[in-house]
Amino acid sequence: MKLLLLTLVAGLLAAWICYRVSYQSGVATAQPGGRISSHGRERASREIPVAADKIEQLRGFLNRPFNERGSAEVWAVVSSMSVAQIRESVHMILQNKATDSAENMVNCLFFRWAQIDPMEALAAADSQRKDGGSENFSGALLSAFNGWFKRDPEAAFRWAQTDSGSNERFYISQMGGYLSTLPPTEAAEKMKTYGAAVIKAAFSYRARANFTSQEDRTAFFTSVANSGMNAADSQTVLKSFARNWGFYDPAAALAGLDGIPLNDDQKSQARQWIMAGWADKNPIEALAWVAKENPPHAIADQIAIYNKWLSTAPKEAVAALDELCRDAPGFREEVMKSQLQSYYDEGWVPYGRNISSDKFLFSRLKNHYDDWATTAPADAERWVGTLEPALQQKLHAPQ
């Protein structure tokens, strides 16, 4: 009797264990979280028979506006598709207009496809890039890369190094980001196998960590110094570090720079970046801090903060100008000089300067001139007299 009961229990236990094991492995093979080997083939990617209803579901989504909710619904359908379904869905969507929704669907499909079979997905995306031109559904290749990178960053990056497209910077940034998440010793070891650009990207990401002690900061810059990075790359890393620290606690950052192993030039650069970050975050606070410093900061520092303020809150900045000028002799002249410089010099990059940006830069200069002409007309006239005649005329004319 005992034996019979034991047999029954053992049988039930075996049935339950086998059920769970086979269910879990069955689901895992088709899950977004299913593991993918570094060779790019998912061991158990199974061809589930095409279910027309899923493809029809996607077709139904095509004409909806693109938004976060819709995108999640698309993913819910796509994430349980087989490769055959994905292929058929891609084919169906590519016959349609490249709306935002359609592009999102294609991106979802390639992202998922690459999680199941990256090499096939990338080959399909690459041929879509070549056949479909650069304008339509251009995100397919990157989506496939991203889908794979999420599962197996190193294998995906190895493939990326063979891609002749224009995504190199993105690939490098992704790899740098990934390395920055590894324990420092492991990251340092892996970095040896990558080029300077990936090393720079990895350190730039790590520079944005919220260091809590001077020891951590010192250790970080020691590792930067030991990384073999060139001066320009180290400068980029320092900029990330300074701007980040400056964002969290600019006053502490300015005071704490002295305790970090940097040379005087680097410290001076770091100070400027910290100030720029502070000006971006809270220009009023930054200006007040600079004005209180003893010995006083160079007026150029105050002008840099003022210009930053002007770019985010022009009305408030101009309204505060008179008070700022009262507190700092020469401030007005320096502001006008920088406005003049930006009117002449800004936007001369390809596609940068045009009729509207020209009008904008001039109107900023004119607003400052008009403000000065109201509060101190004689000084304003003296200044305008030093300008080229054509500009004098423009400034005197009503806006």
């Binding site: 034996l3 029954l8 053992a10 049988g11 075996a14 339950w16 086998c18 059920y19 769970r20 094991v21 086979s22 269910y23 879990q24 069955g26 689901v27 895992a28 899950q31 977004p32 979280g33 279910a51 506006p65 693109f66 938004n67 976060e68 909710r69 995108s71 999640a72 993913w75 359908v77 994430s79 349980s80 999102n104 991106n107 992202f111 995100g139 991203n146 990178f149 999420k150 960053p153 992704q174 980001g177 998440t181 990401y205 944005r208 980040n244 964002f247 969290y248 975050k281 985010t312 809150a313 410089q341 010099d345 001369w348 390809p350 596609y351 300067r353 045009n354 009729i355 300008l387 054509a390």
Partner: protein
Amino acid sequence: MKSSESGITFGFGTAAILFVLLAGLGGNLKGKADASAAIEAGDHPESPTDAVEAEDAGKTPSGSQDSRRLEKIRGKLLEIWKSPTTGLFDLEARAETSQLLSRMSSAEIDAFLRSLPPGSDRMGGTSDMVRCVLFSWALRDGPAALAYLGNCDSARSSLVRMTTTQVVMSWADYAPDAALAWMSDGTLTPVQQERVANIRLNSLMVMLHSDPDRAFTELSSMPGNEISDQLRLWGQTNGKSPEIRERLLDYAAGTGNPEDLAAVRTSIAGSMAEEDPEKAREFVESLQASGRELAALDATVTVEAARKDPESTYTEWTQKNSNVTEIPAEIQFGISAWLGRSSMRDHDDRGAIKWLDALPAGGQRDALYESSIPALVGFRHFDDAARMVETIDSPSLRASALNSLQTRWLMEDPQKAAAWKNGLPAEDQALLRK
């Protein structure tokens, strides 16, 4: 007896083992079948988002359960976005986030965002998480999401301003009534109030695609100056669509502001010329414009056509306008853009400079040289600018060019500028302001 007992035991043992094996096999087959069905139905009970739901489903949460649930969701969200390489392009992360948020109330989402460490909205993966949360949240409770954005620590930063506009655009596309009502609402923060015209402008642009009737109706309720801006922008972005083009022209003709119609015609012509300059020229002809408007239309089409083939397009323009001695601003900036493109590091063919150098002498060339000085200096072609200034015959244009070059060069490189000035002939030095 012993042997028969052992035979029974052996038989029973074998049957027992067989039973266990068969039960295992049955369980295995059933497990596979159920897994297939679950996959086919898109049902993934083991996904990170469902793990939270499965535990909480069907329960009326008590206070502590509620905080445990929230803590779990928070943990999941941070886990999804913990890597700096997780960006908005990670469609899986976005979908999981959306699902998790659907299990939180609006107030809980607000509390979640406020609980993040300072700077999370600008750091690697979490900054994209914040944006993703805001996009989702706005579809459910736009005013709450925007109140959060308007009052957050860096409400003024360019990142937050850009996110605000994008969030409203997405919301307006999904729920136009609610989004438009928010734009006229008195609860906007001062920073949002300052930017509401721009936000509305962008939102209506999206609506123009999804619901053009509604977009035009909304346009009528906007202040006059905003209508003009909007019309110009719609012409630029939608001028290629024949239906919208006709509606825009009709609407602009009826605003009572003659400048609106001219601006719409010009922006449509420019938009069409981007794709097909010939079609754009036919459109311009059909307008039967004259005088300054025709010149502006012609200049706009020329500049757009020149993006593909600057040399022959500008040559054609100079031949057609050989008597013009005042260069329209559109043409000035068009040539500037060409100068910029041909000055790019990977494209330094000096095409624009060679073209300027090859122009026949005369009033038109003088005017083109004088108007090109800011761009030549802007792209650091100081010596070319100096060379061109020396060939300008018109005294007034020469004086203007000399002054323009001196001012700019002095700012960039005072030593070289002084050397150039000292080397000028006496009559040119006399033309420079003292």
